[in-house]
Amino acid sequence: MTLIKTSIGRRSFIKSTALAGGGMMLGFSWLASCKPSASELLTMPKEWFKINGYLKIGENGIVTIMSPNPEIGQNVKTSMPMIVAEELDIDWKNVMVEQAPLDTSIFKRQIAGGSQSIRQSWQSLRMAGATARHMLKEAAAKLWNVPVSEIDTEAGVLFHKKSGKSAGYGSMASAAAILEVPKEVKLKNVEDFTIIGTSRNNVDGRKIVTGQPLFGLDYRQEGMLIAMIVHPPAFGLKLKSYDETGIKSMPGIKDVFKIHVYNDDYIKEGLDTITFNDLVVIVGNTTWEVMNAKKVLKIDWEPITTTKETKSMWGNTIEVTTPAGLENSDLHSERMKSTAISSAKVVRKDGDPASAFKKAAHIIERHYNAPFLAHNTLEPMNFYANVTAENAELVGPVQTPEFMEKSVSARLGLPLEKVDIKMTRMGGGFGRRLYGHFLMEAALISQKMKSPIKLIYTREDDMTSGIYRPAYQATYRAALDENKNLIAFHVNTGGIMDSPLSANRFPAGAVKNYLAEEWEVPSNITIGAFRAPGSNFIAGAEQAFLDELAEEMGKDPIEMRLELLEKAKNKPVGEKNDYDPDRYSGVLKLIKEKSDWGNSAPGIHRGIAAYFCHNTYVAHVLDIVMVDKNPVIKKVTAAVDCGIVVNPIAATNLAEGGIIDGIGHSMYSAITLKDGVSQQNNFNTYRLIRHKEAPKEIEVHFVKNNIDPTGLGEPLNPPIVGALANSLYKATGKRYYSQPFMGEQKIIG
């Protein structure tokens, strides 16, 4: 048992009357029966007793647990409350979940990003449950006049063995709520978990399958108007003038005006990225009316000039240059090639790579590239805003409410406590909603209209307004001696306008002579974090290169990796290696066993890849069969080490999604540019993976251990790209270096 110091704040209101007092609601256990049985119905309490910011207990024993973080499909709304419920020791069927308000005085890191929700809140969620359990025990001990150490709990019931006394949590909640918060509490042993590690269905599942309002786009208020923006048709253009004649008299149209989103003297921070700062706004009664007006609005655009801007990036002040011009994908490719040669900076160097390459018997050098990608959350960018002179109420999908609260407060000149951001369920995030400019735009539109509004991006607005996954290139080189031993390794990589390099990752640490270099190409195409930033490209390139290297060395690709990891473990080169060779080897050994590596059936072409990012270790084996000369993905087997798996059914779902996402983008997707214009603006031109193209089967295996959990939102994507490229090679005899791997006509599936 772990004893930990608590750091939990006092609650502001201890008792509240239940809004739906006396009613009934369906518990999560309600599944497939036509008529839920009585045991599946929860009776709503008449009163709630707030034990701490994370939970309140009704007088009848029903518990409401707050889910602190934004829900983007990673299922934290179920898994985070499960952790609280575990330590509280309550039956899950008596739990209700609510999306918590944004409150940084209670909750830690209310962000959806970096696969960190579970990892970084693990202790605070456990503490919240354990603290409440302890206070309930104290209340019972006082009432029964026995030592608190003699009180036990089980699934929402307190009992005292010696006297035979017992009571439900509900009956002790009012007494517990007024007790002092204990200074330290005991946490459960991992072996005693009864909720964590068991599969619990999505708490919003029923609402989703019956079409209940959950998402930002579904949110509405009385008197709310609909707003849309018109942004320049090309990167490198800005608003010159517009002519609203005829628009304002169109049916349902209320106003047409310009907004200047961020003030010119505002020092932007990392998540304040915006592509087009001057926008034309159309406001009307209904979406269709505004869409129609948008089609006929006449606007003149003009070229931007090259600008220099000071930005604050995580505390560092940097100068960012945005070049003028209408850019093309061909030009990008050329610029990346020349910059890689002319301007690469050394990030890590071990030994003497230059001499090693000079005396090498064999050198293998390969080039990899990938295009810009749009996030394409299926729910496009949108936000509700109601801004008055006194306060701002903002409701909708954003991954960084904590950050945007500050930006909005600064822009509107309202104190922080007068800016209220409410989180809705999000129709996908993938990093796109880390950048909340649309929330700022909604706030400014509402302020101008003096009315509640909802800003909606059309799909075309969403896909063509930038903040893309950067376009990347990488060159890998390896030097072998005459006995085909690896003696040097070199990676040179960069992109527009970002480098995907993580210089201290494997195989750094396993090779005596190692060189990692990076560079960036300036551009006016805006970029942003995209599910597994950097890794989503570099892992695939690296793992495809290691496959070729193993082949050149005459080794099995799994054995070759295991040998390198053994070196990194026993005699690591350098001190900054950021992976655990044992856990890395662990997923390789597990995938070898589970995929029955080396014994595949005839006609099955297999590729392997492994990667470590976002604190989680993953290995994949991907099986292709050729059908009518086309590759079909038959099966993917995955081995994952994310420590303790909180909710296996959801963890597996997220793993499957990550695999399909990684396959889809590397096979089919791209944003290409011609004269600054994105050549893809909707799903008829931007190809996303569809039903037919998904693997026929995915099998996910988790390493069983008691290590504190890490995340799953991102780590599954990056290595699948390598496994796919390596499998395609086995199936077609051709190496795949350029993403997307498949041209327009080739259908896989």
């Binding site: 919003d204 959950l214 299926l378 779902n653 999604g657 799903f683 008829n684 569809r690 037919k692 693997p695």
Partner: protein, 152 residues
């Protein structure tokens, strides 16, 4: 503007509206039936799938003037208690991740099973290929359709 009387989920609604208005926006903006989602506006993603009589249709490109006497069913009206076999199978397989596309997926799947109660893999792929799931729940969707088919 023109007058329309349409049957949606068994209820008759009278609307005085621009006849080009797509059913999607009538459902969402005028009738507050927001289960039907906007994804692309060009019938390329399937998030807005509804039933027109028993056929799956994309509501984002379907003008109200084209409805006539046909009956519209949305996700809210697919079953009285949210217990259509497809909805139940979705819960059983814990299909959704973000959940945004799922109403459209369910409506397409329900129309498929009505038309073809025992679809094979190819039938499912063909019927579902117009419905994008950005989170990649395709494998669970297929498994849920098979479960629903067994129970229907």
């Amino acid at each position: 503007m023109a007058n329309f009387s349409v049957n949606i989920n068994g209820q008759i609604h009278s609307l005085d509206i621009d006849p080009t208005t797509p059913v999607l926006w009538i459902l969402r903006d005028h009738l507050n039936l927001v289960g039907t989602k906007y994804g692309c506006g060009i019938a390329s993603c399937g998030a807005c799938t509804i039933h027109l009589d028993d056929k799956a249709m994309r509501a984002c490109v379907l003008p109200i003037s084209a409805i006539g006497n046909k009956q519209i069913t949305t996700i809210e009206g697919l079953s009285e208690a949210g217990n259509h076999p497809v909805q139940q199978a979705w819960l059983e397989h814990d299909v959704p991740q973000c959940g945004y596309c799922q109403a459209g997926q369910i409506m397409t799947a329900a129309a498929l099973l009505k038309d073809n109660p025992k679809p094979n893999e190819d039938d499912i792929d063909a019927a579902m290929n117009g419905n994008i799931c950005r989170c990649g729940t395709y494998i669970r969707i297929k498994a849920a359709i098979k479960t629903a088919a067994e129970k229907m």
